[in-house]
Amino acid sequence: MTERPHHDPLVDVLGGNLPLEHDALRQSIWRQTTSVLRRRRLIRRAGVLCLLAGCYAAGLLTMSALKPAQQGVQVVVYHTVEREVPSVSPSPAPVESAVALEWRAFDSTERRAELYERAGDLYLAQLNDVASAARCYRQSLDATPTNELVVSPDDSWLLTSIKEARLKERNHAQNGG
């Protein structure tokens, strides 16, 4: 008994005997897929450019945000200086004020002693100009009646010295020396 070769009926249905001619299809799909790739490449580059531009813009924003803060600090420094000046002298421009005060004292008749004394204070404290201070103090004491001459704890060392010398002179004159 001879065995017949087994025939698989599914070979007729599922057999891969299909002629494949797909050059045109292959080229067409290649073109389409590469255009997707090119678009992706462009998007990628654009993304990198956007990122760089974003970084640059962020840098600019940071700089512009920092600038006003620096100006604010300068304002604070300015105020600090402004506060320190009155503690030493009432005038923000001491040289002019001392001279101006001396001139005002020279022209004044009623507050002459007081203005000369303030001018002397300014010369001494602000400009360390002992000669000008001594001149103003002497003028101030000249304008003060002799019996009102007293040393005050607020007086500067120079004014105190001059006052003491004047007081000694007065006592000496009163004692008939």
């Binding site: 009926p9 599914l10 070979v11 249905v13 599922l14 057999g15 891969g16 299909l18 494949l20 797909h22 299809l25 292959r26 067409s28 799909i29 290649w30 389409q32 897929t33 590469t34 997707v36 790739l37 090119r38 992706r40 490449r41 990628r44």
Partner: protein
């Protein structure tokens, strides 16, 4: 090519394609095109127009979704076959929704059977039957009937015994026959 070599190579190609490298894409395309076209044509029961549309759609989907491809899960050719199978399944579902289920052997009523129509119907039945099969049945039928491998080769490739493959093949054939419906020449 060993699996680790393949994974390393395909990972490199994927990275290059994601960066827009056309040469890398060309390498993949040339390697996989014929295999995919043959597979899709087989899955479509030989319908060339449907198969061509599907091949085109598969490649476009692949190039757009290449980021999702993981070489460690499957080789590139397998990933492409998966995309094609999904697209084909969606196509059949859409057609069923639009036209209703096409019963087997729906010959023209009253007239002489149109050979082209019959061929298309048979092809659609093959496509639908293959689509309805579990993946491992489809894979063993593909190896046997499309790739033309014998049982021993299939067993060696899958790390199985020939007996196990023979059994799997028998079950796959049965499942296909059931899904395909009665043979036309049975009456």
């Amino acid at each position: 090519m060993e699996s680790s070599d393949r994974v390393w190579r395909e990972r490199s190609l994927r990275k290059a394609v994601l960066a827009g490298d056309e040469q890398a894409w060309r390498a993949w395309y040339d390697e996989a095109f014929a295999g995919l076209a043959a597979y899709v044509r087989w899955r479509c029961g030989g319908l060339r127009d449907v198969a061509d549309d599907l091949v085109q759609e598969t490649w476009l989907t692949a190039v757009k979704r290449i980021r999702q491809f993981d070489p460690e899960q499957a080789p590139f050719s397998g990933w492409l076959r998966g995309i094609a199978a999904n697209l084909l399944r969606n196509r059949f579902r859409k057609e069923e929704r639009r036209n209703g289920f096409l019963p087997p052997q729906s010959a023209k009523s009253g007239g002489a059977p149109d050979a082209e129509l019959t061929r298309r119907e048979n092809a659609e039945r093959i496509g639908r039957a293959l689509t309805s099969l579990p993946e491992h049945y489809e894979a063993v039928l593909r190896a046997k009937y499309l790739d033309g491998q014998n049982v021993a080769d299939i067993a060696a490739a899958g790390g199985e015994t020939p007996k196990a493959i023979e059994s799997l093949l028998t079950r796959a054939r049965e499942a296909f026959r059931e899904a395909y419906g009665p043979r036309e020449d049975a009456s």
